[in-house]
Amino acid sequence: MAKSMVAKSAALGGIGIGGGAPSPGGALAGYLGRLGKNMRAYYQLYLLIIPVVAYYLVFHYWPMYGAQIAFKDFSPGEGIWGSPWAGLKHFRTYFGSYYFWRLIRNTLLLNVYNLLYGFPAPIILALLINEVRSRGYKRAVQTITYIPHFISLIVICGLLKDMLNANGLINYLLNAAFGREGVAYLLDPRYFRTIYVASGIWQQIGWGSIIYLAAITSIDQELYEAASIDGARRLRKLIHITIPSILPTIIIMLIMRMGQMMNVGAEKVMLLYNSATYETADVISTFVYRKGLLEMDYSYSAAVGLLNSIVNFALVASSNSISKRFSETSLW
């Protein structure tokens, strides 16, 4: 997350200055001279951008100073500067650790499943909603699907725990319908990924569809009319007009999603996992949290986090360049 924000900020920063200085290249002095002139001429614009630049400097660049503890044996008593250097010790420990492969596997798998099922879900919902003609019904569906997004995560997880309990609602229904014995779903590592991904879809499907619905509204209606005249039915129009028109949006969303491939929000996993499900549920972010905040192994957890950010950055960059090559849509 941190890295992808940094990447975005770099892009924004580029726009901030590049917009004023027209011709790239040339000697640095020449560039600075032009920049100075430009700044004097359009000082109001430069004033306007200060808060944004300051925000990124303070919240996203300054903290990188602390990332050096990944290469040190950080002790709070000695401070960041005072702690002795440790080289790549913590990285080596991580690579050699019993948990290394499991963490990578869990983080990736949760994300792959999320991408596989969670990413198309809002698109499909948006397309379906778009086809509904009754305004009242459309509104009702939208409202109902948005609601879970506004419920606090901790409440959602509380609900899940109650419902998936061995005596909970889901077991009750299964028992009534098929006479199945109660299963404590949250205690069995086999179910964790399904629960995580399915509840994620339920939570975010409505909210996620907004951006696609917006993209659909901006499609030129004449395209549909022309298609109707050519005798196209709904399905044809959907496949040949709606989907291609929102494809750029989908690709941008996908690229941004790629940057999260090595990330799983720690909170939800933490609220749902327990020792029995670590095997499938323990991900990099929860591991970093346990190591850093509970066990106070700051340097080690910083090293794990840093490594993760680097991988994320590489993923964004490569998916961006792939997309650039094949579809001319890209973030930068």
Binding site: V58, G79, L294, M296
Partner: protein
């Protein structure tokens, strides 16, 4: 009472704020900026988003502190009596009585004190400074304490955040066994300082306590003799076990069974609970044993390991440090639990159970036995009055593996020092005053104040025998507060604080129902307490390795143990389990602990 407290505490603050609005704004801005900066700095160390806001909260404190003295000193006349600058009656009386000279200071000193807020107080107060005891202390000593209460459930995270961000509180209360790396690491992190000299110089009362009970000094020091904490001391307690197994005695009676002693007895009793419908509702819904679980914990299920003189973690067999899971008997324990779990004798969701769920299961006559504090006996007996008038819970002995074995309580709490204690941090500028403040708590006056409240407090009266005892205010509170809630509004009698615990108070507080006396007797008599692992300390250069070894191995152990118990993997994995732990460095860990234990015993 509540109104009075509010008045004392609230009004002067309000006046001040009203008059000083001009200065408050810049101070607020400064605090905001500090928050913004600090939360920025901490971001890379902690990827968890929740962390950022935590840091902000923690680091906002010092900014606020620095703003406060200006506000008070600029206008000392605004709140003369209540702010306690000019020591009123209480102080002078004390110095005549031969304690330390009071007030300790006439300067304007405010110390920050990081201390988890006990849930027993939350019904009546938001902050310990509203508790009568701390107000009285401020009056007597002249030192103001500003409490930093971490959010409930994330105490250690918030402390760790404060430590890593470098904004240390002046004083800090912690259960130091849970602190990774123990005393040695605390000293290194700066959250604690070596108190040996300051105590020898300024703490005559505590020195007297050390002479009387040398174990107090031993247990609060490192191997090098650095004194680290001001502890809560339980030296002359009549009861030692604070918690243990307990069971529905009325169910036993109904089914014609005796309280179990061996593991076989337990099996028979739990099976009877499961199959013979002791709660009489016609359904087989009984959960014979319902332990408290929790994330990343051994869960109370390991208490059964005490039958084999084991536990989930380290314990002491004479001079030997023993890591329980490596012992051959641990396998028998896991197998037994696995069988019981498969037979439905143990709550199928024990790992997800929190305290409240277990309370509910016991209170609604679904669970037949649990592992609890003795105080739960009275809580449940009170509930049973309305829900199940025949219900009786009472302690049963710690189980033994076979007939004639000696029951063992591997982690008794009411031992001289159970590692809850206060440290003075490296950033504390008033070490002398702080030490004297704590020392006062160990004086005779402080002892009375800490256990029975200030003279004339409504919770205490002096009985015919000249000894203090609880009044009706505490035993049957008119506002419907439980006894502990009523006590804790006045003094820390029922909660943690640096002091010597009065066993008379414990008896009066804990022993309301006759079953509680029996429970205490059953848990303590003939029980072996020698297995309890002492608070060993590690050398500075080994502490980080020991901590990370222990964490990694414990995490792995829990995971495998629970999976085997719940039948998710076969017992054939047991050898792999042991081999993996050894591969992770379990033997090295035991060696470190052995030499640490040797050093402890040599103290």
């Amino acid at each position: 009472m509540k109104m009075i407290l509010k008045k004392i505490h609230g009004t002067p603050g309000l006046c001040r704020r009203g008059a000083r609005r001009g200065r408050l704004l810049p101070a607020l801005l400064a605090a905001l900026l500090a928050v913004a900066l600090a939360s920025g700095c901490a971001a890379p160390a902690a990827t968890a988003p929740a962390a950022t806001s935590g840091t902000a909260a923690a680091s906002a404190e010092p900014a606020a502190t620095s703003a406060e003295p200006t506000a008070t000193s600029a206008e000392p006349a605004a709140a003369p009596g209540a702010d306690g600058g000019g020591a009123p009656e209480g102080g002078q009386g004390a110095s005549e009585a031969g304690g330390p000279s009071l007030p300790i200071t006439t300067e304007d000193i405010t110390l920050t004190y990081f201390m988890p807020l006990n849930p027993k107080v939350t019904k009546t107060c938001k902050d310990y400074s509203e508790v009568l005891y701390y107000q009285e202390l401020e009056k007597r000593t002249g030192i103001k304490i500003r409490f930093i209460h971490p959010a409930m459930g994330s105490e250690s995270e918030q402390l760790n955040l404060a430590i890593s961000s470098g904004d240390l509180p002046d004083l800090c209360w912690q259960g130091w066994t849970g602190y990774p790396g123990g005393y040695t690491k605390a000293l290194k992190d700066g959250i604690a300082t070596d108190l040996r000299e300051p105590i020898e110089q300024w703490a005559p009362n505590l020195m007297k306590t050390y002479e009387q009970w040398p174990v107090v000094r031993v247990d609060t020091s490192t191997d090098n003799g650095e004194i680290v904490i001001f502890p809560i001391i339980y030296v002359d307690m009549e009861q030692i076990s604070q918690s243990g197994f307990f069971m529905r005695y009325d169910w036993l009676e109904k089914l014609g069974l005796e309280p179990p002693e061996t593991m076989d007895d337990w099996h028979a009793v739990l099976t009877a609970f499961k199959t013979q419908d002791p709660n009489g509702n016609g359904l087989a819904d009984e959960i014979p044993f319902s332990p408290v679980g929790g994330n990343n914990s051994d869960t109370q299920i390991v208490k059964f390991a005490s039958a084999w003189r084991l536990d989930g973690d380290f314990l002491r067999w004479g001079d030997h440090a023993v890591y329980s899971p490596l012992e051959p008997d641990f396998k028998i324990f896991v197998e037994t639990m696995r069988e019981w779990y498969a037979e439905g004798l143990i709550d199928p969701q024990y790992l997800a159970n929190d305290q409240k769920m277990v309370d509910d299961l016991m209170g609604t006559s679904v669970a037949g036995s649990a592992f609890e504090r003795n105080s739960k006996t009275s809580a449940l007996m009170t509930i049973f009055k309305t829900t199940d008038p025949d219900g009786v819970v009472q302690g049963v002995r710690f189980p033994v593996a076979s007939e004639g074995g000696v029951p063992a309580n591997v982690n008794a709490w009411l031992v001289p020092i159970n590692q809850g204690g206060a440290t003075i941090s490296r950033q504390n500028k008033y070490v002398e005053e702080s030490v004297k403040w704590f020392d006062y708590l160990y004086s005779d006056e402080g002892f009375y104040l800490g256990n029975w409240g200030p003279e004339g407090a409504e919770m205490t009266e002096i009985g015919e025998d000249g000894l203090p005892r609880l009044t009706e205010y505490a035993t049957s509170n008119p506002d419907g507060l439980s006894m502990d809630e009523a006590i804790c509004r006045i003094c820390p009698g029922g909660m943690d604080s640096a002091r010597r615990y009065d066993p008379r108070l414990y008896t009066q507080r804990m022993m309301i129902f006759p079953q509680q006396f029996d429970t205490a007797e059953i848990w303590d008599s003939g029980t072996d307490f020698s297995l309890r692992y002492p608070n060993v300390s590690f050398k500075e250069d080994e502490v980080s390795e020991v901590t990370s070894l222990l964490n990694d191995i414990n995490t792995y152990k829990r995971e495998m143990m629970h999976k085997m118990i719940m039948g998710q993997i076969g017992m054939d994995q047991y050898d792999t389990f042991i081999a993996t732990m050894k591969g992770m460095g379990a033997d090295r860990l035991v060696e470190y602990h052995q030499s640490a234990l040797d050093r402890y015993l040599a103290r």
